[in-house]
């Protein structure tokens, strides 16, 4: 722990203080130090979107933010948003529309979809696709995912 920096952040409402190596990115910190494995690690260079988490109310790539940069920040993960019921309607729509196959991309899809719902609640189908363009689904499930989000936004 040669360069470790004491870092305090709030994760899903709970304040956490740890000494963190600067090289540790936020999603690895959440998964490995805090056991919050709902945020996934895919490409590790910002392309796939599987690591999407919310920092101070805005979605970010968990693999492109160092955990030490989250000092003083409010971090929310799929676990927090799921437990609070914030995602309930989206989760039900994903279930109803069979909008997942393997499920690897699903937590981040829900995070991105919720972000759109908050920012642009009347988004068109095209805008839904644009907003989700940074989240890859390798089971080719986009059609059903967009259907599910459309159900929630327009339903």
């Amino acid at each position: 722990m040669e360069h470790a920096v004491e870092t305090t952040l709030t994760v899903n409402g709970i304040e956490v203080t740890r000494r963190i190596e600067p090289r540790r990115n936020l999603v690895d910190f959440l998964r490995e130090e805090l056991g919050l494995t709902g945020s996934h690690v895919g490409c590790e260079h910002g392309v796939c979107g599987a690591c999407t988490v919310r920092v101070d109310g805005e979605i970010v790539r968990g693999c492109l933010m160092l955990a030490v940069q989250a000092n003083g920040c409010k971090v929310e993960t799929i676990e927090g948003l799921s437990d609070s019921g914030e995602l309930a309607r989206l989760q039900k729509a994903f279930h109803d529309r069979n909008a997942l196959q393997c499920g690897f991309c699903t937590p981040a899809m829900l995070m991105a979809a919720r972000d759109l719902q908050l920012k642009n609640p009347k988004a068109s189908r095209e805008e839904i696709r644009t907003h989700l363009s940074g989240n890859y689904c390798r089971c080719t499930g986009y059609q059903a995912i967009v259907d599910a989000i459309e159900d929630v936004l327009h339903g």
Partner: protein, 267 residues
């Protein structure tokens, strides 16, 4: 992959930042949306990251005779700013093309310009708008026009120990930003950033060389036909993995044709 080991410091003042930047292997970290992937892929191995996001004088948008946008202003802030959309719409249009919402929430104007990726959106916008880059160092301030800032591939006029503090953009309401990419948010195959005002047109291309390129001949042309002919002398785009130089030149002409009317309306 995982990033190599490095130290981290977050200065609260410019003075403190300049001290830290003198240390061996120090590198500036702002939004990190290009630096962190390069660390994760081990393409970069700094000894110390100096996180400048705590320096408040580098943030914010000031509206005066020109638009002064702090280096730490994010793509999302540029995209959402009603003032920018109205008075320098080129920037707001360009911001929407940069990667994806989660990346635009962290990536910064200063980071994009200081990195000087020739396929990035802001360098071409800065060139088209003839923006002034404000560079700060221990010895004071240097003001560099965009045309002299971009020196080569990922190479700028920034000197060791200096940082990009802000960028001043003139108000130019008539503009066009267009790019072609295989998927929304991908790096552009080729892109166009053009503005027009009383003094004429300035059309720059991204993905068309080692730096953003100002298409001088096409900008000065009096008809689209002339402009398309001139563009072949203005740019010589390098081939990439999927597109030959000829294809990229053809696509540049397509974009120029699409932008021409917007940039040629009577004043």
């Amino acid at each position: 992959m995982k990033a190599p080991s490095f130290a981290y410091a977050k200065p609260r003042s410019l003075e403190e930042a300049f001290d830290l930047l003198e240390r061996p292997g120090a590198k500036i970290l702002a939004g990190g949306q290009s630096l962190v992937p390069s660390l994760n892929m081990r393409l970069s191995s700094p000894e110390l990251l100096v996180d400048i996001t705590g320096i408040s004088s580098l943030a914010g948008i000031q509206v005066g005779r020109t638009f002064r946008i702090g280096a730490l202003v994010t793509h999302a802030q540029i995209e959402r700013s009603a003032e920018i959309r109205k008075q320098v719409p080129l920037l707001a249009e360009a911001a929407a093309h940069i990667a994806h919402p989660a990346i635009r929430n962290r990536g910064t104007l200063g980071g994009s310009l200081a990195l000087a990726d020739p396929a990035a959106e802001y360098p071409a916008c800065a060139l088209a708008l003839n923006a002034t880059l404000v560079l700060l160092g221990r010895k004071g301030e240097r003001r560099v026009p965009a045309g002299s800032f971009f020196k080569g591939l990922f190479e700028t006029d920034l000197r060791t120990g200096e940082l990009l503090a802000a960028v001043e953009f003139p108000r130019v309401e008539r503009s066009a930003f267009l790019e072609l990419a295989r998927r929304q948010g991908d790096y552009a195959i080729i892109g166009l950033a053009g503005v027009a005002d009383g003094s004429g047109r300035r059309i720059a291309f991204l993905g068309a060389g080692a730096t953003p390129v100002l298409a001088k001949g096409a900008s000065a042309a009096s008809s689209l036909e002339q402009a398309l002919k001139a563009l072949g002398n203005d740019i010589d785009p390098p081939a990439d993995l999927y597109h030959s130089s000829a294809t990229k030149l053809h696509l540049a002409k397509v974009l120029l044709s699409r932008a021409w009317n917007t940039l040629s309306k009577p004043h």
